[in-house]
């Protein structure tokens, strides 16, 4: 061990943070123009599912995933308060040890009823649901075939597992089929799709894609995070809407969007599904959701089963906003409204940030989305509508966009 450093010598220090320098510089460049930090917004008070106080200004919320406006539903809130009183603030344990209370079983039953499926497994977040299920079911020698525009949680699930990962061009059925055809015979195959892709708000041709996947003997997982509660006759998502939910092996969803709280889940009819509770590490090695959260989720999920009127109003909002913004001269992510997300395409990050700030001054909050979250290096202002936005608010929003678009030089 003669080459060991002597006690008095130290090696040159490499700052592990130097890899972030390009991003730090880009951020400083943007903020030095005087624009408000788009990733540092604080809501001082939340008045309703659609209105909050931001920087002392009453602001219409058009950038939350509160699609069905359940966050302030009186029944949901009452259930949460009751559970706090009856079961305490938290479980302090894993689902497989001391972290399963009556409420956790009740919300899983609510999910089985909501989807008409035999099994439901609740995770602490939607991110963990994708991470856990994908990394656990696809192992060494198996193949995951997935859309290139998949959410970060899907990619991270792929990265955490040992399967071969094969992406295909967004929503391209032929590209997906070619890859499935080339997989060696006998290998396990998992096709991963999303109902609604959250950046542009476009939907997948699930019926055709799932038929192809089944032809090649693949199992199919569909993330319906952005469609649950809203799309489909019973709010089960895009697969239900297109009549192919029976062919989906695993539906992944979340409580943090239409359900209005936090948590994630997987529902399935697979006969061996329950073994997941013992082998899925992001399920086992983390604390379970607090009793108040599962109580609010169960109440909300059950109410969403009977929310046809709200679904109809949300579709109306989406159509009116899409037409209004198109008529005003904005370039949108989809030609027709396909979901509750309407993405407004910005020419670049700088003008996107200017437009975002101009909207905030108008009293409107939207999401500024930029690469790497967005496809094709786009900068987007993402609007997500709520069933609780009134028709008047939608008209107000169109007016705000039009004025801000002129201020920021996006509209002529």
């Amino acid at each position: 061990m003669t080459d060991m450093l002597s006690e008095n010598e130290t090696q040159a220090h490499t700052d592990l943070f130097s890899k972030f320098d390009p991003l730090i510089e880009m951020r400083q460049g943007l903020l030095s123009t005087g624009v408000t930090d788009p990733f540092g917004l604080v809501m001082e008070k939340v008045i309703s599912p659609t209105v909050a106080l931001c920087n002392g200004r009453e602001t219409i919320l058009l950038g939350t995933y509160n699609y069905m406006g359940m966050t302030f539903d009186p029944d949901v809130i009452a259930a949460g308060k009751q559970a706090l009183d009856d079961f305490g603030a938290g479980t302090t344990g894993s689902r497989v040890l001391n972290g399963t209370y009556a409420g956790h079983k009740a919300v899983e039953e609510a999910l089985c009823d909501f989807y008409g499926m035999k099994h439901a497994m609740v995770f602490s977040t939607g991110y963990q649901a994708n991470l856990g299920i994908i990394s656990t079911i696809a192992g060494k020698g198996d193949y995951i075939v997935l859309d290139i525009d998949s959410h970060a949680s899907i990619w991270d699930g792929c990265k955490m597992g040992d399967a071969e990962v094969v992406p295909f061009k967004h929503n391209d059925i032929e590209a997906m089929e070619k890859r499935l055809r080339r997989i060696p015979e006998g290998a396990g195959k998992l096709v991963v799709l999303e109902g609604v892709y959250s950046m542009l708000g476009d939907i997948a041709p699930l019926k055709e894609m799932i038929a192809v996947a089944k032809k090649y003997g693949a199992m199919v997982l569909v993330d319906e995070a952005h469609s649950m509660g809203f799309i489909g006759p019973n709010g089960r998502g895009v697969a239900e809407d297109q009549g192919c939910l029976d062919d989906v092996d695993f539906v992944i969803g979340t409580f943090s969007k239409s359900v209005g709280t936090v948590g994630g889940f997987c529902v399935s009819n697979h006969s061996k599904f329950e073994i997941m509770r013992l082998v899925c590490r992001p399920y086992v090695f983390t604390a379970s959701l607090p009793p108040s959260v599962v109580a609010t989720a169960a109440t909300s999920v059950r109410k969403l089963m009977h929310a046809a009127d709200k679904r109809a109003h949300l579709w109306e909002n989406s159509k009116v906003l899409h037409k209004g913004l198109t008529d005003a001269g904005f370039q949108l992510g989809t030609e027709e409204p396909q979901s509750a997300i309407i993405a407004v395409i910005m020419p670049d990050l700088e003008r996107g940030a200017m437009m975002w700030e101009a909207l905030l001054h108008e009293g409107l909050y939207v999401n500024l989305a930029r690469p790497p979250a967005t496809p094709a290096n786009m900068t987007l202002l993402r609007c997500s509508l709520c069933a609780e936005h009134s028709a008047e608010q939608v008209q107000q929003i169109i007016g705000m966009f039009t004025r801000a678009g002129k201020t920021a030089g996006i509209l002529g």
Partner: protein, 81 residues
């Protein structure tokens, strides 16, 4: 069906052309990210073009091991062998 390295290299060189916007000279040591400045979208389209040409899959796990042109040719020869 086996194909020699030179033939594979020639076919890949032809496929690179539309993606080689700056007309960088291609040699075994040419790196995709640093020399050809491929971003993730270009990589996807380029990989798809090669996969279609040779009717193979180059998974992302395999792509992670390929940094330069020579490594790509070797990988395709092996996958096609």
């Amino acid at each position: 069906m086996t194909m020699d390295r030179a033939e594979t290299s020639a076919r890949i060189a032809a496929l690179i052309e539309p993606f080689n916007k700056k007309g960088v000279e291609i040699a075994d040591a040419t790196r995709f990210t640093d020399d050809l400045e491929f971003d993730s979208l270009t990589v996807m389209d380029f990989v798809a073009a090669i996969e279609d040409e040779f009717d193979i899959i180059i998974s992302m796990n395999q792509q992670a091991e390929i940094e330069n042109y020579g490594q790509l040719v070797d990988a395709v020869v092996k996958l096609n062998g």
